[in-house]
Amino acid sequence: MTELRSTSDKLDNKAEDKLVLEDKDGVICNNAVNEYLMGIKGDLNQAERLVSDAVNNLVCNFRYISELAGSNHEMVLAIERMATSEGRNPINELLEKQMVTANRIEQELEAVITSLQFGDLVAQLLAHTARQVEMLSVELQRIDRQGSLQGKTEKRALNSIHSGIHKAVNEVKNKSKKKPVVQQGMKMGDIELF
């Protein structure tokens, strides 16, 4: 994009030096847009990594808990077989309570299976947003390329577009709050004692 503009400008005569300067503004503007969009894509990638790390950890926890729940269930069944079948003795009452707990754990684990799928949903959503940002970037570059190939009668209008985009990006940048998350993974954060 910059290359195209420079080449076309070199071909122009000296009287068009002013336009070269105006085009330089355009290049600065596009660099700012690219930088801004790259920043968004970086944030999206970071969010994807964080979610992915969290889900991987949760899946490990889930597998461990489900194994423990399975062992517990088997143990309850074994104790039940050993317990006397005559009437309601304290062991049988405890076993009944234990069975209720085991069933509840099983139900909760099923709910966790549904909840854990959020990672996949978020990853797909982030990929979709990243694609949209990419498309916006490509479209802006296309407009810029087209602009550099237009006749000089339209230069003023193009400069106005460039300065409009430049202003818009700056405005969004200024309005944006400081990035609240800097972690790149789910590792434990530093601890500082005073």
Partner: protein, 121 residues
């Protein structure tokens, strides 16, 4: 003998959740990471049902569906789609390609097993 299900998804966590659910219900599970991997595995193993995602690298679920339906041994095998996509247009494409059913993520383990139980017989 336990029935075998081919679970296809590019998300490792989804594959693990699906496998956990199906194995808990007594099914044998073969995992595949995308459509191409699934197609290769389907050619080397005899499976009783295929559960596949749509959006995957290398080969998507719809292409996999089309290719499998061309094979004699997979003409009548149930193929369920498990995806985040819920649009009518996409569903119509799936149906046209020969899908047996369409499940939108996130799935509920009990509901998934009910649907599989219905179609696998």
């Amino acid at each position: 003998m336990a029935k075998t299900i081919l679970a296809v998804d590019d998300s490792a966590s989804i594959r693990q959740m699906v496998t956990f659910t199906l194995k808990g219900a007594g099914y044998e599970v073969i995992e595949a990471v995308d459509g191409q991997d699934a197609f290769d595995k389907a050619n080397h193993h005899q499976v009783n049902l295929i559960l596949t995602d749509i959006n995957m690298p290398r080969m998507d679920g719809l292409k996999l569906l089309e290719l499998l339906r061309k094979l004699t041994q997979y003409k009548n095998i149930p193929i369920l789609i498990l995806t985040t996509e819920s649009g009518d247009e996409m569903k119509a494409k799936g149906r046209a390609a020969g899908a047996t059913g369409w499940l939108v993520k996130p799935f509920d383990p009990k509901r998934l097993l009910e649907v599989i139980g219905k179609v696998i017989s």
